[in-house]
């Protein structure tokens, strides 16, 4: 019998910080101190606070240790686990208030405003143990659906809950299921879109890594609701931990008779398989994804017919995002009214965001819909580091847009984001400070889209490339105001005439930065100046002769040999040779190099 549980994060972030080495060391030390019969070591999914990883939590005290190193393990075992003395120096600093009194994890700024629904088991259970999932009411929703509810009642409950697609577009899930249920077909499919491709987004990954059974349970329920007997999880091969845990979970579910023939002794049969994607961004688009599952090159096709009518292998199919599925079992178990009590009228429930960029608490957060951006950035995220100012947040990755600082009090919902020219997207939220150039950001996302455009339709294949060329022209200071009009026009054309969601939303980052930060574009074009000091072609580095001590450090480090001057006398940069690498500025100890 165990008196203490040591939870070690096995999410991707902490694993890459060697959390599994920490686990190994922990087991070794427990043996050494003869505590292995008393202390249980568990690998869990993501706790969300990736910034402070590797993370370890010890219960029953609930001590949250952050940035744990292998060398710290001995102290944790000998002090905390043996003698019950919490290792204060490793404790997450938010667990103590200003006076040094204990504060529970739920009351820390990072967790206080969060409401973990889709992530409820992440960081709580061992994702490789079906029994631990069952202990947290796992598969109870499936029992309820199969034994107490008709397929139509399941769909009605989901419809009533107001659950909307968490992949980004926000289509009502119940409606989708209803369409598929109404379609006639000898074979139907329930699929899961786990092809998370937005740069900086990792919520689906974390759910699969931390709570794979939640996806499986929801997919079986979905299969029951629409009359499908086969499901596929389309997950990218770049997510090895997620794939591994899904495989383990599917194996366990089969063993327990929760997948396969006559599930739970009923007449319902459903099985699941994993299909690995090679990582093409376009395969996250539903029609391209299904083409890829069929074994063909992942390219979209026109809709209609919609997948609910004619999808995978020409049969009625539903395709839901990982996070959408993660909500299903709890809605069935706790009811639509409970779900509606969270979030807003239009958008019930919660949303998971992957917080990244210029933010103190990089990580995974889940908040009720309607939470303001300010709460996410300043309270949960801990604000922008290094005393910089918040400039904008980018949501929705390459399909989304930015929210400027002036709109920071906007409640986050599908509709409000679209109104301001952004979109929810899958939930990547990249925070930008004053050192970020908005033209450069637009260019970054456009480069991504140009790489990832599948090339099937001309507007996306050619249009995005031309948009990128115009952006390059602007950042090099070679553009005119006519180019700006052309850019805007081109964006609208690509938006309106592309075949699939990838092309239709590709101009969003450009259009939204144009809308909120037009002055920055104009500064690049008219003044030949990059206000954030990012675009190299528009920068000049100069040495302030009053500060320069003539230490020669910059001259020795300059790769272009553009700096000259005698020792102990002010140096000068030859602008014709300078490549704007900024190395002199980094090297200078007297802050004599200035960037304009």
């Amino acid at each position: 019998m165990f008196r203490s549980h040591v939870l070690i994060c096995g999410g991707t972030g902490c694993t890459s910080f060697k959390s599994m080495d920490i686990r190994e060391e922990m087991e070794k030390k427990l043996k050494e101190y003869d505590l292995e019969q008393e202390v249980k070591v568990v690998t869990t999914g993501c706790f969300g606070l990736c910034e402070r990883g590797p993370v370890m939590v010890i219960y029953p005290e609930g001590a949250f240790y952050s940035r744990v190193q292998v060398d710290d393990v001995d102290e944790i075992v000998s002090e905390h686990l043996l003698k019950g003395r919490v290792v204060e120096r490793l404790l997450y600093h938010e667990l103590r208030d200003e006076e040094g009194n204990a504060r529970s994890l739920e009351d820390t700024r990072f967790y206080a405003k969060q409401h973990r629904l889709a992530l409820r088991n992440c960081g709580v259970i061992n994702p490789e143990s079906i029994d631990e999932y069952i202990a947290t009411d796992g598969y109870m929703a499936l029992i309820k659906a199969l034994t107490e509810m008709t397929p139509q009642e399941v769909i009605d409950e989901i419809s009533k809950s107001g659950l909307r697609g968490r992949g980004g577009a926000g289509f009502p899930t119940g409606k989708k299921w209803q369409f598929a249920a109404n379609s006639v077909g000898d074979q139907k499919y329930a699929c899961c879109n786990a092809d998370e491709g937005d740069p900086g987004a990792f919520m689906d990954r974390s759910i699969m890594e931390g709570d794979p059974h939640a996806i499986i349970e929801a997919m079986v329920i979905a299969g029951y609701a629409i009359g499908a007997s086969q499901g596929y999880i389309y997950v990218r091969a770049e997510y090895p931990i997620a794939v591994e845990r899904l495989k383990i979970a599917i194996g366990q579910a089969r063993e327990y008779g929760l997948l396969g023939n006559n599930i739970l002794g009923t007449k319902f049969c459903f099985d699941l398989d994993i299909r690995l994607g090679a990582g093409a961004f376009v395969c996250g688009e539903e029609t391209a994804l299904m083409v890829s599952i069929e074994g063909n090159r992942g390219e979209p096709r026109p809709r209609p017919p919609f997948p609910a009518v004619k999808g995978l292998f020409g049969k009625p199919t539903i395709l839901n995002n990982v996070e959408t599925y993660a909500n299903v079992a709890q809605i069935i178990l706790k009811g639509a009214d409970w779900f509606r009590s969270l979030g807003t009228e239009r958008c019930p429930g919660t949303k998971v965001f992957a917080l990244g960029g210029k933010i103190t608490n990089t990580g995974l957060v889940e908040v009720p819909m309607g939470t303001t951006l300010r709460e996410i950035v300043e309270e949960i995220g801990g604000g922008v580091p290094n005393h910089k100012n918040f400039k904008a947040a980018q949501t929705g990755g390459p399909s989304g847009g930015c929210i400027p600082a002036s709109l920071i009090d906007i409640p986050i919902e599908y509709e409000t984001l679209i109104e301001i020219g952004s979109m929810m997207g899958s939930g990547g939220l990249i925070v930008m400070d004053e050192d970020t150039c908005m033209v450069d950001i637009a260019k970054f996302f456009m480069e991504f889209v140009v790489d990832e455009s599948c090339g099937k339709c001309a507007p996306c294949r050619i249009g995005t490339k031309r948009i990128l060329q115009l952006l390059e022209k602007i950042t090099e200071g070679k553009a005119t105001m006519d180019d700006l009009d052309l850019l805007e026009e081109l964006c609208h054309h690509v938006q309106e005439s592309s075949l699939c969601g990838l092309g239709q939303t590709a101009p969003n980052p450009v259009l939204s930065t144009l809308r909120h930060f037009r002055d920055e574009y104009i500064a690049h074009i008219v003044d030949k100046r990059c206000p954030a000091g990012v675009c190299k072609a528009l920068l000049t580095f100069e040495i302030n002769p009053h500060f320069c001590r003539g230490c020669t450090l910059c001259a020795r480090n300059c790769p272009a040999e553009a700096i000259s001057g005698k020792p102990k006398e002010p140096h000068v940069i030859d602008q014709s040779k300078c490549v704007q690498c900024g190395l002199c500025m980094q090297q200078c100890r007297f802050h004599a190099v200035v960037k304009r």
Partner: protein
């Protein structure tokens, strides 16, 4: 292949294990002095017995934690029981005494007076 009943049984058995990972304060806190003085006086077997017994009886609202030196080393092993605002201090504990504390105090809410610090003094 598991039946619905078997799945529910798994949930019941496992939920005791997972109850520990709940940050909410349990209503009963059992604290064992596990500093050097406590360990050398035999606190380890006391702690182990308490853990086994609490688990065996599925006492979900009990949190078993260790602490450092309580200060009266000569009376170790010391076990403190907190129920609400009430604190009981048991001294010179042994595994056998620990069983009685779980049975009488934690389950039946009867303080085992003869093991308390008051009786020892």
């Amino acid at each position: 292949m598991k039946t619905i009943e078997e799945l529910k049984a798994i949930r019941e058995n496992m939920s005791d294990t997972l109850a520990m990972r709940n940050n909410a304060e349990g209503s009963i806190r059992v604290v064992v002095g596990m500093a050097t003085c406590g360990i050398s006086a035999g606190a380890r077997p006391v702690l182990q017995t308490l853990a086994q017994e609490i688990n065996k009886r599925h006492l979900k609202n009990v949190k078993l934690v260790q602490t450092g030196c309580i200060g009266i080393c000569r009376l170790e092993p010391i076990v403190e029981v907190y129920i609400g605002n009430e604190k009981t201090t048991y001294v010179k504990m042994t595994p056998e005494k620990a069983l009685r504390v779980v049975n009488d105090h934690l389950v039946n809410r009867q303080v085992v007076t003869e093991f308390t610090i008051g009786a020892a003094e």
